[in-house]
Amino acid sequence: MPDEDRILEEMLALAERLAASDDALMAGQYALLRARVAALIELRAFGKDLAA
């Protein structure tokens, strides 16, 4: 089984790098991508410590 939490954390880090782009056409779209990943991390958060 993949470690989904870890993959999402890595994706968030990558998305944050993209969100630092200075391309005005892409800036909002990268921010949306980052927010999507951040939302998936957030909605999985409850009980994470218990499982560990």
Binding site: D23, A24, L25, A27, G28, Q29, A31, L32
Partner: protein
């Protein structure tokens, strides 16, 4: 002179890359996308597999763009409706598994023939937003802006969902005021927002909104000084009207050509506005890396010559769910090749004059479009709205045009009103080669609003009833 838009190319390396492609590079990219599209649809779509077999494209193999355009049979609305009827709801045109359809887009049904239905994948939905955001970005929309969307939101149409997705993915704040909000309530809301940067509206509604603001004594450029751009679609207009709009709003007017079949916009005036530097009609540059657009003689199917009007035949290069391939839109546009566009490799169509071949009226031997009358009538800023009627009397075809003076010109004297009627009549003669009957009626006769204006009624068949 309207304020110009911040250079969208300077602010986007990606857009600069698109703009720097040569014509051979663009066509090579299109060819690769067409090959992949045909191969995928041959495997997934009964509808398109039959089309390719009919055209002799064995196994969906295409060896050139020229061969694709000559061998792949065109489709039209009636073909899609028959396909849907036989295999509801999506027909057999899906390019993805049925389970990957997460959104649908339906055409508006204004043709009266029926509504096409398109399945969209998750990627298509992002592209739906992007294909609205791209022209709006070029037209001045930026992250953090406040935008007013006057097109009815939601429902099942492309125009209902695309704008919302576009504003969200651009990171702008969208106020979706179209639909049930009255014009007066929209104005009250706009005045209370503390700054508006962008408006999207149909041509018809921008006219209504501007007229209502002026009737309240509000000068838009003073009430909304932060406006970057106003973007219209859906209907033609005269340049005199566009100039007045830019003067009233103090910003450039931009236009896009879009449709459900294109999953958004297929071209726009970019940041250049609807006027060329010499004051002539501007150009909508086509997003040809997203769509293959042919402009053909509707009778022969042959490509039209530069400067000629033809029917747009479109092929999606990035749609997954229900792609259109060589779809006959019925939309009439004047073709301007890339070599005549003042730089870049993207072909163009003339803005402000898109019409429908199925709207064409044959009157006393003349081919006329409603857009011709729109141009003649709305070249007069005193006119708020009009309606046209073609009918038969004593075996002769008659044309009646009723005009209503705009509320903010309500103080026109009788002599000026009579002169206006004569001026409109002469302007129609100049553009259509026909003398028609013009009369003035009260503005209240034309209250109410539709997203796509239907100003004309053809009642000639009524005159033939026995």
């Amino acid at each position: 002179m309207a304020a110009s838009v911040a250079d969208p190319f300077a602010a986007s390396p990606l857009l600069r890359r698109f703009a720097s492609a040569t014509r051979p590079e663009l066509e090579a990219y299109q060819f690769r996308k067409v090959q992949a599209l045909c191969a995928r649809l041959y495997a997934k779509s009964d509808f398109y597999r039959a089309r390719m077999d009919e055209g002799g494209l064995a196994d969906g193999a295409v060896d050139s763009l020229d061969r694709f355009a000559k061998a792949f049979p065109t489709s039209a609305k009636a073909d899609f409706l028959a396909d849907q009827q036989a295999a509801p709801p999506f027909g057999t045109r899906l390019g993805v598994d049925r389970g990957d359809v997460v959104h649908i887009s339906m055409t508006s049904g204004t043709s009266g023939q029926g509504q096409e239905i398109y399945g969209r994948s998750q990627r298509d939905v992002h592209m739906l937003g992007y294909l609205h955001a791209l022209p709006w970005y070029m037209g001045g929309l930026r992250q953090g802006d406040t935008a007013i969307n006057c097109v009815p939101a939601g429902g099942m149409t492309t125009g209902g969902w695309g704008p919302g997705e576009a504003l969200r993915i651009m990171g702008a704040t969208g106020f979706h005021v179209g639909g049930n909000t009255s014009t007066e309530a929209k104005i009250d809301l706009m005045l209370g927002l503390g700054g508006i940067h962008f408006i999207y509206a149909s041509t018809n509604y921008l006219h209504t909104l501007t007229e209502a603001l002026l009737a309240r004594g509000i000068t838009p450029r003073e009430a909304f000084p932060a406006m970057h751009g106003i973007f219209i679609a859906a209907e033609g207009y005269p340049l005199e009207w566009a100039a007045k709009i830019e003067e009233h709003w103090g910003c450039r007017l931009q236009e896009g050509y879009g449709s459900t079949q294109l999953n958004g916009f297929g071209g726009s005036t970019g940041s250049a506005g609807v006027f060329r530097p010499d004051g002539q009609r501007g150009l909508m540059r086509l997003f040809e890396w997203e769509h293959l657009v042919e402009i053909v003689d509707p009778a022969t199917g042959a490509p039209v010559q530069p400067g000629e009007q033809g029917e747009m035949v479109v092929t999606n290069l990035s749609v997954e769910g229900s792609p259109v391939v060589r779809f006959r839109t019925g939309d009439a546009a004047r073709f301007v090749p890339w070599q005549e566009c003042g730089g870049g490799a993207w072909n163009a169509i003339e803005c402000g004059t898109i019409g429908r071949f199925d709207d064409m009226m044959k009157i006393r031997g003349n081919n006329v479009w409603p857009s011709m009358f729109d141009a003649a009538v709305f070249a007069h800023p005193e006119v708020g709205e009009y309606r046209g009627r073609v009918y038969t009397r004593d075996g002769k075809t008659e044309v009646e045009v009723k005009i209503a003076v705009a509320d903010h010109h309500a103080n026109l004297c009788e002599d000026d009103r009579a002169a206006l009627v004569q001026s409109v009549r002469a302007a129609i003669k100049e553009r259509s080669n026909m003398w028609v009957n013009v009369c003035e009626v009260p503005r209240a006769e034309f209250q109410g609003f539709a997203y796509k204006a239907r100003r004309w009624a053809d009642e000639r068949q009524d005159g033939y009833r026995l």
